[in-house]
Symmetry: C2
Subunit: 599 residues, 2 copies
């Protein structure tokens, strides 16, 4: 039966004990990682947050009942042990921080027993995710997840320190907010005081942080919980965390500067990694042209080449048709893959098709100097030569071409580039390549709604030099919006906001909003803007994703203490669950009959 701790007080965490304590009496507490008996000795590996420490129980010197207790110890029992630090009697364990010492126990308490856990508490990854998540409290005991929680905590601490030094105030914005017509994916919360009315959980603190700028707060930050009720992709969570900030009286360069220094500080303090600043910047257009992506992974080359002009005169219908329809022909040079077998190249073609390509044209420049191509027969020899030259093709290279409208070509080649880079180990995993992508288009054409929609959001400031097009050619207007990209992942993004009434009106017009529409959607913010609004700008990071990169994990689940699974449920608590009718009555709602819930 479990005992009380009373009278004992922990003196050290496990790995806080070292050679320097030899001869001292210490008290340690933690979980039994392993027990093994060796003659009259019992060895126990004790585990706490800090790591492992060896305890030794000697039948000859220990009180009988304590020895018996030691002999009863099983994995995951929680114990307190008092004893003297000594040099290891048995072999030194080089892999352990405390590998050269042990505690010769003189007093033992069993604080809590444990059933046999459903899986061993170690970093071997053979256990099913579902089982781990059901017993998350056991899974979290693994050194790897302990390390992730520690790093996450250090990241937020360092970010907070830096932002405080830079004059940012931490301010909480409401979780119980207003659902807007834009918020099709808002979680709703019925109100007891106002039956039939609902709060909306925020997808971001966007409106509130802009209101704080109107309030004269000047510099705001918050590490904020955000919510999105949508079908979860592989690596999304219904609730997620942003490092969110907003600044007054600033322009693009100010925001970039403060955030470069923030990231430099976080990577240095937490990982001891030196990040070079200023970071590289690419405009959206350049990123698309060179990498086929607005979040390029720049850890390797293999950039896209626009060969539209080179092939403009050829008769190959795939190329010709794309160009005639206003599209382009672009290529990738996969160096060193010229001798790949047919099957592997076919796999690239299939991959390209997943992203909307009708096909993928290729030229194999074999090491032996021979050339094999899927479309040579449609091309003149000098056209082929020009094309290979344009791609800087050499023996041993594989040239891959997509021809379609630009958006498809970018998507196909951008993804194909990543696929090849990963598959053929072209990526230096030791790098942290940061990159700003700037000058995003302000608007994008929405085919479905037959109107422009805001690429970032409707308060994003156009670039001054493009203002003249906002009425006449809105698609051409670039925005003061920026994303921060790390190794091909978008870590965060933001924009300068519109603070001028005239520009806001023009923006709403481009979006096809009447004044009524705008008021219904953003009424209280627009009202606030009538009472003196400072120029302001902001940025938000996905904290989960940032920490995922910093811990080297593949899934954001591994950096969240209690994550949910794909169907937005929690396997440990079984949330969401049923509730009693009287609760719903008070809220003025009822569950609809089943017939309406059919899939």
């Amino acid at each position: 039966m479990a005992e009380s701790m009373a009278g004992l007080s922990r003196s050290h965490r496990c790995t806080e004990v070292s050679r320097e304590n030899i001869g001292e009496k210490v008290t340690v507490m933690g979980w039994v990682q392993k027990r093994r008996n060796l003659g009259s000795l019992i060895f126990v590996d004790l585990r706490d947050r800090s790591g492992l420490l060896q305890l030794v129980f000697d039948e000859d010197t220990l009180a009988d009942d304590d020895y018996e207790k030691a002999n009863s110890l099983r994995n995951e029992y929680v114990i307190a042990a008092e004893g003297e630090v000594q040099k290891r009697s048995a072999a030194i364990n080089e892999n352990l921080k405390t590998g050269d010492i042990e505690i010769k126990v003189t007093k033992l308490r069993i604080l809590s027993e444990s059933k046999t856990p459903p899986f061993p508490v170690d970093d071997q990854q053979t256990v099913k995710d579902e089982l781990r998540l059901k017993y998350r409290y056991l899974d979290l005991r693994r050194p790897n997840l302990q390390k992730n929680l520690l790093i996450r905590s250090q990241v937020t601490k360092t970010a907070r320190d830096f932002l405080a030094e830079e004059g940012f105030l931490e301010i909480e914005t409401p979780i119980l907010g207003k659902s807007t017509p834009e918020g099709a994916r808002d979680y709703l919360v019925p109100s007891r005081v106002h039956p039939g009315s609902f709060y909306g959980l925020p997808q971001s603190p966007q409106l509130f942080k802009q209101l704080l700028m109107c309030s004269g707060v000047d510099r705001y930050y918050q590490i904020a919980k955000c919510f999105r009720d949508e079908d979860l992709r592989a690596d999304r969570q219904p609730e997620f965390t942003q490092i969110d900030m907003e600044l007054s009286f600033v322009d693009v360069d100010d925001v970039i500067d403060v955030n470069e220094r923030l990231l430099k500080r976080v990577f240095k303090d937490v990982l001891n990694v030196d990040v070079q600043i200023p970071m590289k910047r690419l405009t959206y257009q350049e990123a698309m042209d060179r990498f086929g992506s607005d979040k390029p992974d720049t850890r390797f080359g293999m950039e896209l080449v626009n060969v539209s002009e080179t092939v403009s005169g050829c008769d190959f219908m795939v190329f010709k048709g794309a160009l005639e329809n206003g599209g382009s022909v672009r290529g990738l040079n996969a160096r060193g893959l010229g001798d790949l077998g047919r099957k592997k190249i076919d796999a690239f073609v299939d991959f390209a098709k997943e992203f909307g390509a009708k096909g993928l044209a290729y030229i194999q420049l074999k090491e032996d100097g021979s050339v094999k191509s899927s479309f040579a027969k449609f091309m003149k020899e000098e056209e082929m030569t020009a094309l290979i030259d344009a791609m800087e093709g050499k023996p041993g290279d594989l040239l891959l071409f997509a021809a379609d409208k630009d958006s498809v070509v970018y998507d196909v080649l951008g993804n194909l580039r990543l696929e090849i880079g990963k598959k053929y180990d072209m990526i230096d995993e030791s790098l942290y390549n940061f990159l700003w992508v700037t000058e995003f288009p302000l608007l994008e054409w929405n085919e479905e709604q037959n109107r422009y929609t805001a690429m970032h959001h409707p308060f994003t400031m156009p670039m001054e030099e493009d203002l003249e097009y906002i009425d006449t050619d809105p698609g051409k207007v670039r925005a003061k919006a920026y994303d921060i990209v790390l190794n091909g992942t978008e870590l965060g993004g933001g924009s300068v906001r519109i603070h001028r009434d005239d520009i806001q009106k023009a923006m709403f017009k481009s979006l096809g909003f009447t004044e009524e529409d705008a008021n219904e959607r953003f009424g209280f913010l627009l009202e606030a803007f009538q009472y003196g609004v400072p120029p302001h700008a902001g940025l938000a990071y996905g904290l989960d994703r940032l920490v995922m990169w910093m811990t080297g994990e593949d899934s954001i689940r591994d950096v969240i203490a209690f994550p949910k699974v794909k169907d937005a449920s929690c396997l440990m608590t079984q949330a969401p669950g049923g509730v009693v009718t009287v609760q719903l009555d008070e809220l003025g709602i009822e569950i609809k009959e089943n017939d309406t819930n059919e899939e």
Copy 2:
């Protein structure tokens, strides 16, 4: 029309400019607090987060259009001004940090115009709360609320710094949690993926933080949003913030020690106030006996005196009846109030009745030596003398007595004490009197449910020395629970948790829970406890209330950026609001017909 900031860059906040900058060119940006014209000069008080700075525009030297612009400035316009710092030409303002300087403006931009605001942006408090809250972004511009936001930010920063130094990890627990049968006041969140199922928003991270201890986290903290859907008392919010912590392998004194040092640090760093530690401690019983309250305001005396024995032989039926029914007779000595008029004493009687007293017996010991009493006629003279002696009554004192069962007597006299203390200025408002109240009863008898309920929560550890009573006389068992009290307000509270199976079972038995009940309520925590649980304890502060004390405000609304009002609505955003039916359809719920919503 509003202009762009382009080409200008803020060099200083308003009060960052000082005499030391005289002769320098600076660029400042902010809101127009006031404009006044004086001959060919225009003076503008510019306001930003830091304070006020005087700008001067000189018709003789400024470009014509900039002067015209200056002349058009109205309150709350947002402007950028470039100019030279000079000694004030006009009278020095001693009340201003920048009172001896001004900026002679050479370039002006109007960044944003403002309509006439619905109330002036200053700290005069004549504006209705409702109007302030509707235009919260204007209200927040007031120096007083700016200061509150700053202090709140400093409090959380200092607390985080301290807790990080002490080895606490910041860990986020879910907002979308599970609603429990206990959670009658949970906010519910319908799930789109599981129509008809609901998440519950947490009233506290209690279960999760205990699970983190089971996970080996050792020391956890979080500044956590919590939610309670209840009729809001004057000063509650539907969402509120806790500084929440939990520690493993500790007992009561460890928790108290770390929290005393936390509070000392916060008060020192933020307010430069020295808090003496160790702080005073009172047991629950002592607090009730001396102050009639489990959160006593110890900034003044006037303690309760138990005169039950003194009056045990008297024939005054009010006293006699109370004692015969197992109650008590207790008194307060309101020194110096012996000569109060009848009306004022009657007001005390009425006040006492609000708290359940049937009446209030009193003795006026007038300055002139005469005695007036509401019940002298029922008492022998020597009984009166003994009673006055027991109360240490002197001429000029007013003695007030309540007789009833203990709970009523405590409540009446405890509240009366506070009322008199406030009304007659007995409280030294400059003090910060911290106090721990410990050894709370583990259980309280619930008349309605005819069973014991947990006073703190069902995982609270009984005191070892009282364990023997848990089966036989549960009401007698004291808990390892503690509250931290400041000037009569509960700032926070917590307890050591049960980590032993046998004690947990006895506790559930005392609460009348079957094993099934317990599992339904706390299933996943109880399951976790089967796999090795460390002794652990924790505490949570109400951050809003703490900051309220530190800012000297009377309402927590004044320390929350975007608070809600009594009916849990937001006057600025109009949340909660209606939603469209298609949203509800997806959630599998519908709004009930009106007949069921009638009050």
